[in-house]
């Protein structure tokens, strides 16, 4: 029975950062801290603080929603380097 009980845990799908083709790059200088990117990031990898936002690249899938939603163009999608 135990094997069918799961507990909350980050990375249920592994390091989903690997899925990225494009990477969101944050430009704090343009940011107005509206938090829309936080609200609409489906992966919940954006954290907000008084200083701006941080993106957890280990899990960010690079969907690009944050960049689209940001009216300030403070997030930019750039092609992921193959490493």
């Amino acid at each position: 029975m135990e094997c069918m009980i799961a507990k909350p845990s980050k990375g249920a799908a592994g390091k989903t950062g690997l899925w990225r083709t494009f990477k969101p790059i944050y430009h704090p200088e343009r940011c107005n801290l509206c938090q829309l990117c936080w609200l609409y990031c489906p992966e919940n990898v954006i954290d907000v603080s008084e200083d701006g936002i941080t993106i957890d690249y280990e899990y960010c899938k690079g969907c690009g929603i944050c960049a689209k939603i940001c009216v300030k163009n403070a997030i930019e999608m750039v092609r992921e380097e193959e490493t």
Binding site: P8, S9, G11, A12, C34, L39, E43, C63, G64
Partner: protein, 289 residues
Amino acid sequence: MVAIKDLSKEKFVLPGTTACQGCPHVLGLKALGMVLGDRAVLVVPAGCTTIIAGLKDRASLKFPLLHVPFASGPAVATGLSSAFKRLGKYGIPVVWMGDGASDIGFATLSGACIRKDDMIVIVSDNEAYMNTGIQASGTTFWKAKTTTSPAGKKEEKKDLALIMLMHRADYVATASVGYLQDFISKLERAKEIEGFRFIHLHSPCPPGWGFDSSETVEIARMAVKCGAWILWEFDGELKISAPSRPYADKSKRLPLKEYIRAQRRFRHLSDEDIKEIEKKIDEQWKALK
């Protein structure tokens, strides 16, 4: 409407889920966590959320969560809500189901509703059976192409929310992942009420509809702006919700064509088709007014 800044930052969706990039369900689930927090106890019938909820011993969602058979969601919640009441627990059963689950489980949904059992049911409607590979459901948009409607679906979208309204649900609303704050305020209201609460959430799906993962929110908003998806709330009386209000005026609407042309599932539509749909949209607005 709660300001974004004041929304709970506690994470109920944990990064690194199995959802596709830009998945609408996850947006909805995030909002759910913000409002209901640890009062939400999820009942999840088969669907994409089955996968999204996690793999093996790792759960992606920080809710107590029961996976349940496809047609059974609201009935399971009936049992759970009874347990919570009897044992004095503060949980609210939330049935988080897909549009497909509302097809096969429609009798179940209807039954729980007429009993006014204590639960919140959210149909996160991506307009197809996505988890099994994009088959048409009752709520699939008219003329949309799916793997089981290769020439476009011949029937109109089933109007779930109106139908639940005729069931005399205690609370009924439509919502959209493109307007999370509106959805959040509806969840806030639903949380306060006791009884059967129903929210029909519009959830555009990138691979299912054929648009880029970055456009989930945009497509959702286009649906509202062109009037195809109308946000409303029944809480004693029926009201068109703020984001939709401007589009009661037809002239203010985004041309339907823009919404349609942004999606691969509509690639085969002619301009005639679009006009036909437009007419139906007008009728829909009339019906709600």
